[in-house]
């Protein structure tokens, strides 16, 4: 990491973290290289692929084009923060069951986009899922298994109230 020029505070996955970073760093760089949270991926570094998607105050956000200053003091959830100590988030489990992660590189970003969708809609249609994931490129799956996994997770979350 180049020399740090500022210290920002992030509420990451429930923890309050202070991290010193160069001023030009993005949120993705701060997470990956400053905090060692390597779950969020960099596929393009310019806002085109969605692999770096995290939740910032609940909203899916491309962390590779989010200047670190903009994230200061915000609530960030990354893929590492979706599950709990007791087990994975239903989305994470259903992705595994449905083979929705082939190489898995798009998966962290897709999970964050899907989690935001399920937080606002408990029974999304296929069309809503497609729209919610339209900023996340997956090169392996053809998306079909991803839709199935999101639908199964939604059903499970409805059943569990």
């Amino acid at each position: 990491m180049p020399p740090a020029t500022e210290i920002v505070t992030l509420m990451v996955n429930g923890d309050r973290r202070e991290v010193g970073v160069p001023g030009h760093y993005t949120l993705l760089e701060a997470l990956r290289y400053g905090l060692g949270l390597t779950g969020s991926k960099q596929g393009c570094d310019k806002g085109d692929c969605g692999a770096c998607t995290v939740l910032m105050d609940g909203e899916p956000t491309l962390s590779c084009i989010t200047p670190i200053r903009e994230a200061d003091g915000r609530r960030i959830v990354t893929v590492e923060g979706l599950g709990t100590a007791r087990g994975p988030h239903p989305l994470q489990d259903e992705f595994d069951l449905h083979g929705a992660a082939q190489c898995g590189f798009c998966t962290p970003g897709i999970l964050c986009s899907a989690a935001a969708l399920l937080a606002r809609s408990t029974n999304p249609s296929r069309e809503e899922i497609r729209e919610a994931l339209s900023g996340n490129l997956c090169r392996c799956t053809g998306y079909t298994k991803i839709y199935e996994a999101v639908e199964a997770a939604a059903a499970r979350m409805r059943d569990n109230g």
Binding site: M1, P2, P22, R32, L37, T38, G39, S40, K41, Q42, G43, C44, D45, K46, D48, C49, A51, T78, V79, E80, L82, G83, P88, L91, Q92, D93, F95, D96, L97, H98, G99, A100, A101, Q102, C103, G104, F105, C106, T107, P108, L111, I129, R130, E131, L133, S134, G135, N136, L137, C138, R139, C140, T141, G142, Y143, T144, K145, I146, Y147
Partner: protein, 813 residues
Amino acid sequence: MAKSQSDFHFIGKPQRKIEGLEKSSGRALYADDIRLPGMLHGKILRSPYPHARIVSIDTSAAEALEGVHGVVTGRDMPTTYGIIPWTPDEYPLALDRVRYVGDGVAAVAAVDEDTAIRALDLIRVEYEELPAFPDPVSALRADGSTPYVHDAEKEGRNGNVTKHVHMEFGDVDGLMETSEVVVEGEYFFEGTTHTPIEPHCAIGLWQPDGSRRDGLGEPTRDERGDGTGADSGPRTGSGKLTVWSATQVPHYLHRELARVLDVDPARVRVIQPLVGGAFGGKSEPFDLEFCVAKLAMKTGRPVKILYTREEVFYAHRGRHPFHMRYRTGCDTGGRLKSVDAEIVLDGGAYASFGLVTTYYSGQLLCAPYAMPAYRFDSTRVYTNKPACGPKRGHGSVQPRFAFEVQMDKLAERVGLDPVDMRRINFIGENTRTVNELRITSNGFLECLDAVERASGWRDKFRKLPFGRGVGVAGSTYISGTNYPIYPNRMPQSAVQMQIDRSGRVAVFSGASEIGQGCDSVVAYVAAEELGVPLEHVRVYRGDTDFTPVDLGAYSSRVTFMLGNAAIQAARKLRQMVQQAVAEEWDVKPGEVLLAGGRAMWAPDTERQMSTREAFNLAEAKFGTLGARGWYDTPKDVHGDYRGGTIGASPAYSFTAHVAEVEVDVETGFVDVKKIWVAHDCGRALNPVLVEGQMEGSAYMGFAEALMEEQVFKDTDHGRAGLHDGPSLLDYRIPTSMDTPELESLIIESIDPEGPYGAKEAGEGPLHPSIPAIANAIYDAVGVRMDRLPFSPPAVWREIQAARGAGTLRKPPC
């Protein structure tokens, strides 16, 4: 005898992938997730010219920059390499000539990326520009008055020709002459690239030896007197080199690192972390792997290089643009008589896999249809653009597009339904193709039946309203190649398996997990054969220090070869366990079943013990338990002619697609509504993974049909040789909104040689997408799309032409 499905516990059933939760929880580690203590960051300086001589390179200012620990240029690694042993034509960094915009010329290692980027700006390279060959036409016309892309091997030859293959089987001209119907067509397949979401990344680590007690080190290059050791850093032989890389061929990387860097292969270790997609785009060594290794050796610190997305586009090795001309003749009943093809492959600046691509452009066309006579003439040429190589369906996707459109045109001429046209030409099973490839299991007819039924073909073909249409296409693909890339008589794939008193199975597998699920496949085999739950199987992988050699994830070889190797190892262990338990119970070993975590006596399954207890008995009887399994391909099965080994595979998969489209005649926009994919993969070891491969393949074919173009600027627009749009925004790959509905229909023709009867599923299902869509566009509006991609402007132009000619209408029944 083939087992029926109910005989299996794991095989053939939906299962989790063993690393699935790692991936969905964000714990999975990819190359760029790895950080080593003291690690430096590297960057590569790239040529701004498509073709130029390097007059001089001055790195002194870069070296003097604070934070820079090392700089290397082509002089540091003056050895050529190439994935095909006969065509080594690349240097890790250009030595005296650059051949495409993006060719690497120098690399630096610095404390951080920012410093490395600043250092690149300080490197002074003086170039002397050379005339470039932007396309195959100019490359083929070259007369030597300006330097070829590569110097000609022999005086008087055109150095721009990488490879020329001419093959003829049967009486092509005679049968063409007597064909009642002959269709001739010209086709163009635009280049496309793999675009894995993970960019290439590598880390090098050099661990020097301590001094030897006898005071004698291994000789340096200078001591050996080869005169190249001037500034080659520490003694190359006296340490251990480790390279982590997002590669799909760790074994070939291992070989080439050792050869090019002159390090004993026994001192080289390649570690393959999980790979974030590859599709053929990571199947040979790249400049970054040599650079991290050399920089690590030079600086004594670990060095990482991560490609930018732009660099991934320039690294390329994707689908070759093909210019194709086909003549196809059949009788009045639609039976194929003669096929004649002429192909020019635009290879880019280096050979890559090009020699194989040139053969594949013709060799893989001879099924699933019988053709009595076939000729192809293929020429691969060098051009001053990033090198093309293997992309999913290597070399055979392009001709398949042309050929399946030809089939459609023939069907129309003889008045046959195109599905029936394909049926009557079916080559059959247990047969030989006209070019002598051995076909064993073949479920192509079932594939046709399945897509015809599922798509409602009979009610749609030529019956949908104008603007809407359906198209069909078929294809075949290899399950690995009988002959490895470098000639040798060693196994193509192998595993080591251990069981112990804890009840766990450990598998050491050298196969390359690139998302397709091969680590899981060995785990399913181990669980199936040894009767343990999947959670008791650990797969240790991707490290050339402790896994046996597997040749890599390419040519759809992995499940077939690795699966067979794993079955062999697991069965050796199973026999030992059965024997030990049988002795304990005083029964016959064959009567001991292992399943569901239990060992049972078949005649009375009440008599049982846990597999852990059974493993204890075996360990007590035989000592520490381990077994090896390996697979090698049949070596006596190939065509009896020069080149006849290329395309020879232990088994072939078969695919049929139906695509349904809607064409907007005002805008030229083609909306693919749905693709039905039927694929004969032999036994589907895990149907979820097979479907994933089928859907991913059909998606990728759809993308090439409608959206993707890997193109470079010519002299008229800005700088020649620059990529037209090296980003994931400009190079358009389908989002969830673009991708059509995909329906997978698995067909299982149990293969005699496949593991439990399995064949490939990773590449075959891509092929028919493109021609099926082309044929559907024709059914919709009567317009033939013989050039890719079917982008709105291209389709619109054809529609305008048809309008002018009065042919814009539903084609006649």
